[in-house]
Symmetry: C4
Subunit: 81 residues, 4 copies
C-alpha cells in the first residue's frame, strides 16, 4: 500500500491480481488489470506520474498516472521470466 508523493492517490495490490488506485479528489477507485497472480507490491515514482506493481507471477508492470492505465511500451522487457 503506497501513497503518491502528493498524497492524493493511494495504490495497493490485491490477491485477485488487480491493482487498485484511490483518487482523493473524487473518492473513486480504479481497478487496473493485467497481472496474472496476486500483487504483493506497489510503488509510485518520485514524480508521482508512474506506478509500478509487482506480482507473485514474477512480473512487474508500469502504469501511467493519471489516469492509471497500463503503458504497454513500458513493460520491463524481461520481466516475468
Amino acid at each position: 500500500v503506497a501513497f503518491s508523493p502528493d498524497g492524493r492517490r493511494l495504490a495497493w495490490g490485491s490477491t485477485d491480481a488487480t491493482v487498485k488506485v484511490w483518487e482523493a479528489s473524487t473518492g473513486d477507485v480504479q481497478t487496473l488489470r493485467g497481472h496474472l497472480s496476486s500483487v504483493h507490491g506497489v510503488t509510485f515514482s518520485p514524480d508521482g506520474r508512474r506506478l509500478a506493481s509487482a506480482s507473485q507471477d514474477g512480473t512487474v508492470k508500469f502504469w501511467d498516472v493519471p489516469p492509471p492505465r497500463e503503458t504497454s511500451g513500458w513493460v520491463a522487457n524481461d520481466a516475468g521470466q
Copy 2:
C-alpha cells in the same frame, strides 16, 4: 511498520486484525479496529494526517491522524472486492 513523516508516530499492522499507533509524545499506543483479518501494510500520507492500512481480507482503510480513528467516509468505495 511505518513512521509518520514527522517521526512522532509509528504505525504497524497486527495479525489480530488491528492497527496500532504509538505516539512519541505520550508513549501511548492506540489500537484501531475495523479490519476483519491480518493487517499486512500501513503507510502515512506525506502530510502525516492520514494513515492507510491494508488487510489480508482485501480491504484498505483510512484513518484520521490525530487522533487516529477510522473515517468512514474515506473508505475506498470498492475496496474489499
Copy 3:
C-alpha cells in the same frame, strides 16, 4: 531492508529473530537481540536516530541509533498483545 536517511546505515530483519545494522563507516554489522520470532519489518525514523522493528511475535521494538541498542523505555506499552 531499509537505509537510514543519511544512507550510512542499512538495517534488516532476520528469521533468527534478530535485527542487523550495517555501518558504512566501519563495515561492521551489529546484531540486535530482543525479539522472540522472525523480524519482518524495519524502518528508521525520519531523523535517523531511531530504528523500529516489527516481529512475527506481534511486538514492535525501538532501538537507539547510534550505537544501535534497545531502549527499554521506548517499547510500545501494549505491543505484543
Copy 4:
C-alpha cells in the same frame, strides 16, 4: 519493488534468487545474480548509488548503481548467519 530516488531505475526481487533493475533511459532490465534464495526486499540508498537486496537465505547484498553489479567488498561481514 523500489524506484531509485531520481525515478530512473526500478528494482525488484524475484523468487528465482535474482534482483532485476530496469533502466528508464534504455528500457533494459539487468539481472543481478548472487543470492541463493528468493529475494524479498530491495531498496536504494538515498543518493541512488547503491542498491541493497535481502533474500530468504538470510543474506543482504549491496550492488553498485550504475551499472548494477555486486560489490563484493560491501557484503555485510556477518550477513547470512
